[in-house]
Amino acid sequence: MAKTDALTVKQIHKQIGAKWIIRDISFEARTGDLVVITGPNGSGKTTLLRILAGLIPKSRGQVLWNGSEYGLDHGAIGYVAHKPMLYENLSVYNNLRFFGRMYGTGSKEWERELLTLVDLWHYRHEPAAILSRGMQQRLALARALVSRPRMILYDEPFTSLDQDGQRLLRGVLEENRPKTIQLLITHEPQLMEGFCYGELRLKDGQVQGGPYGA
């Protein structure tokens, strides 16, 4: 059975210049939870995810992993950003291989399994540049999974995905559910139909509602 982890976000704030991008956001999530973050443009969703990924610092507050402020190893976070973040000159396979080696989790079998999962095994020798936007997004999904993360952050992952891609992503969300905490930003909550999830609704950098914000 997978280890149960707990993410605790306590009153985090983010200020850029004179503007507060995020104000007083608190919530908790455990392994198995799927938190869907919604809200209008500029409400601080991406900033919140980037703080949780450790990509930008918070101005105030705490992010605790199993009760400890620095308890989450960077390799334990999978991050699917709004843009695919791929090396376009590298082949599909080498993109995945590079990150697999960086995390120390790469192996030929695992990389093959991931590329098969996102239906890109046949494109493995092609440079990432020639892939369509939707295929690049699928490769980004494989890259986020290569480290065998314990928390996965998705920033509008449905963007550019066709129906097959969306089905694939839903499968990934379902399959990873028992072993990870998943946080997902979307403007289209209807795509999450059929999932049992908690919602965190943001507006102007603050939690407006949803079970997580209640």
């Binding site: 980037r50 990924a53 450790g54 990509l55 930008i56 610092p57 190893d73 960077h74 390799g75 976070i77 991050y79 950003a81 843009k83 695919p84 973040m85 791929l86 090396y87 376009e88 000159n89 590298l90 590079f98 990150f99 080696r101 960086m102 995390y103 120390g104 890259r143 480290s147």
Partner: protein
């Protein structure tokens, strides 16, 4: 097995260098620019009949500086433009890893540039080098390039997320490089004259400068990349 610090440095270094070789146009552009400088300086200096051995160090380092402003702008800019910086930051964990790998790649590119351009300068400027101290000459090139690569990498990391970064980079680089520039020119001159003792002070200054600008970004790179 989780790779250690230096394994990760090597992986990023290897990726960047392969990318430079694969997209040969940038490296080629820098080399062509260097070769053009060789011809322009050689032609201009022949017109005024100056003693080439004595002005060679200054001409050489001015050329290396200009080439470096082109070559070193890419280290972080490419990751930023391709939006791969976030993925790399997550995968490397320690941002110092990123600095060291990018610095080593920049240094390698500078050394490749010098390996091509220095012999050409030597030939086309008609440098005699009767008293040349080869060891000191190589030390001056190495220490000068080390400092140039370290400052270039640090500044590229600092400015990459700012508007007008391509303009800011050379403007900020020059004043920071002045002490290194002086040290490198005078040490190279000492090597040309075969006077090792007289430039020992400058060698220590270069070494101290290089160490400071390699170690301080390592400690501060978390803040540098926050933008």
């Amino acid at each position: 097995m989780v790779p250690n610090y230096w394994n990760k440095v090597f992986l990023i270094y290897q990726k960047d260098l392969k990318d430079e070789i694969r997209t040969f146009s940038h490296l080629l552009g820098t080399l062509v620019f260097g070769i053009m400088l060789v011809f322009i300086f050689s032609y201009a200096l022949q017109l005024v009949h100056l003693e080439t051995d004595s002005i060679f160090p200054a001409v050489l380092w001015v050329s290396v500086y200009f080439a470096a402003t082109i070559a070193l702008q890419r280290s972080f800019a490419k990751e930023y433009e391709d939006r791969t910086l976030d993925a790399l930051l997550l995968a490397s964990g320690d941002r110092g890893i990123l600095f060291i790998a990018k610095f080593l790649c920049s240094l390698t590119i500078l050394l490749i540039f010098e390996a091509v351009v220095v012999p050409l300068f030597w030939i086309f400027m008609g440098v005699t080098g009767y008293n040349l101290h080869m060891g000191l000459f190589l030390v001056s090139l190495s220490l000068g390039s080390w400092g140039l690569a370290a400052i270039g990498t640090m500044l590229n990391g600092m400015t990459v997320q700012l508007p007008g970064s391509r303009l800011l980079f050379p403007i900020l680089m020059f004043p920071l490089l002045l002490p290194l520039f002086m040290g490198a020119i005078l040490t190279t001159q000492g090597a040309m004259l075969g006077e090792v003792q007289s430039v020992m002070g400058w060698i220590f200054l270069l070494l101290a400068f290089d160490l400071i600008f390699t170690i301080s970004p390592l400690l501060l790179f978390d803040y540098v990349l926050e933008g």
